[in-house]
Symmetry: C2
Amino acid sequence: MSFIETKADSDFSIHNIPFGIISTSQNPAPRVATRIGDHVVDLSVLAQAGLFSQIVADAQGVFSQPSLNLFMSLGKPIWTATRKHIQKLLSADEPTLRDNQDLIQRAIFPISSIKTHLPANIGDYTDFYASKEHATNVGIMFRGKENALMPNWTHLPVGYHGRASSVVVSGTGLKRPNGQRTVVKGEAPQYGPSLRLDCELEMAFLVGTGNDLGEPITIQNAKNHIFGVVLMNDWSARDIQAWEYVPLGPFLGKNFGTTVSAWVVTMDALEPFLVDGPVQDPKPLEYLAENTASAYDINLEIKLKPAEGTKYSVISRSNLKYMYWSFNQQLAHHTVNGCNMRTGDLCGSGTISGPTEDSFGSMLELSWSGAKDIQLEEGITRKFLQDNDEMILAGWCEKDGVRVGFGECHGKILPANK
Amino acid sequence: MSFIETKADSDFSIHNIPFGIISTSQNPAPRVATRIGDHVVDLSVLAQAGLFSQIVADAQGVFSQPSLNLFMSLGKPIWTATRKHIQKLLSADEPTLRDNQDLIQRAIFPISSIKTHLPANIGDYTDFYASKEHATNVGIMFRGKENALMPNWTHLPVGYHGRASSVVVSGTGLKRPNGQRTVVKGEAPQYGPSLRLDCELEMAFLVGTGNDLGEPITIQNAKNHIFGVVLMNDWSARDIQAWEYVPLGPFLGKNFGTTVSAWVVTMDALEPFLVDGPVQDPKPLEYLAENTASAYDINLEIKLKPAEGTKYSVISRSNLKYMYWSFNQQLAHHTVNGCNMRTGDLCGSGTISGPTEDSFGSMLELSWSGAKDIQLEEGITRKFLQDNDEMILAGWCEKDGVRVGFGECHGKILPANK
């Protein structure tokens, strides 16, 4: 369908057309690109050639930015028109780009030759807690069965503010954090490297256009403000978190690093995969009430390669459709008090756990707080992450022969500072 | 001491020399200024005249910025040298500026003729919880006497991430937030305007120079990274907060707005007011251990003008010296896990309550959760804030005839959206 070859199982078919930030050794300035199959298309070069002149005013300026923020700030009609136009430019029966060898030479690179960068300049990062299964599992482990799910949980999408500065792009190594934690419960805390380092399987949306302080985004309008979605690994030091988190929430147990995938998949690309979400009981208050399908059927996986092993093992298979509160509900709730969102703000879903043990979205749940081993290939086991372990989160939609995916969200745990 | 008149009780004597961002009707571009007495000095104009050429490379570029970030990123030796140089330029016995009427005309304006702006481009905003009296008081009200102070509190400066986008400068009106809250405890939540809208008396420091991800700032180095201090009102909707905050901390109860004062008082200006802080028991772990005085003797006041009244009443008198954990300890703790700070990051102290009832830093504490009236002048009372109430936080140091202060942190509560 495109003149650029894409394998049948590629996340980046012509139905996708995600946006990201790349650089090359020849041109180290980060700039906007899309990806198709195993190639990237430098949109700043296409813009320079005038190929977006009918769609985006000052396209060259917009696509030469080191983040997607300026493009995202232009609003949904521009996002939609741009993606459609790129689909047309890349299609097999459209000669404009296909037959311009010079332009292809300058604008299209194999994925192996480019570097990806953080796609957005993130002003604020919020993390929700929108999977009922995850909230229940963690609640049981942190507070016991009786206090597992707090009374507010089924009434609102619980969320908290995270740290924007330490959000990094897929492929970035992160040091194991040092910090204060109790090694034996009830005893005085000690300083040292986290002994219970964990992942969290999440997806996150990027706010495309925001709102003024004091002017909420309604549930009806929410979808027009959301630009796209990435995979997110909300690395968590469970021992640091458990000691510090009362009463004001997670802090140093989380803010040493959060990894997002490099390619932002647009809501337009995901629209064919809309499904009904979980039944919400009690019925949400009016400002959170939706009357159309707003969940997405996105398959998710956690893959772990232990330091002493040679291959990745899938340790969890989950799906975004399990998420109880939708992205639209999260955004409407976030702004109901007048809180202002800005272009580039990142909102994580919270860990996406499914109903079965093999669909849990964190090692905390998979090992049930370290009570049992997670079995990997080659006879290796883990309860939590060890130094030099590598992890990949993956996500993709598939329907009627169309596949749209997210690529990978990769991270490696480096040893702690001495 | 300066050729510009400063009253004896001015917060902005020549011993202060704070930094802020101003604009004027004649030149609406926000830019860097200092304040002395009731005048501001436009540093971009002085830089253009070459007066900083020996101190700051590209001073004109640095002081023409709409935030202090570029100046702050230059590091402590430059901050110190710049302030000293300004003190010299403004002193009565230095003719350079004093005798240049044309330059005075272009660079010095009465405070009544300028507008102040948010002093920094805030990447991340963190709020600590560093007053033992406040944490104890709120703990009793939210969780009962037995669970008031959590076991971790005396071991580490508890903190959480706040919302950077809604930090506004003194003088900005804020709408009363709508949201979800339980009106009768135990019953289903309702949507509506907050019925328990409160202030929090805080101070906050601005990070001048940050650290790379994975490279902590040591307790010994912390003071070199802190640029200066502002007053901060951490407005809080107690009913929204009480319903939402378990288990991940405050969110919509806080992120509808946070007000900071316009003039950043440097650590150099505050150095004469260093005092020993509260005795810390248990002794902090080594990464938090300090061996010099690191608390500041800063008098603080909350003043409230009720909508139906004509004047401000002082409702609380507190002092920053009551804060249990120092700014240096907060910064060392924040980065001990490798979390990266960036120039312009804002770190709030948490509510600064003193030991006596008239020194509590929030109306929640002053009215003991609404159990008693706060008495204002003209026979008016309050438990929480009503629409069109105005509040001023004030702060100043005084010693040996030298006064250094913060001006005011003003806010007005506007009616909620219908």
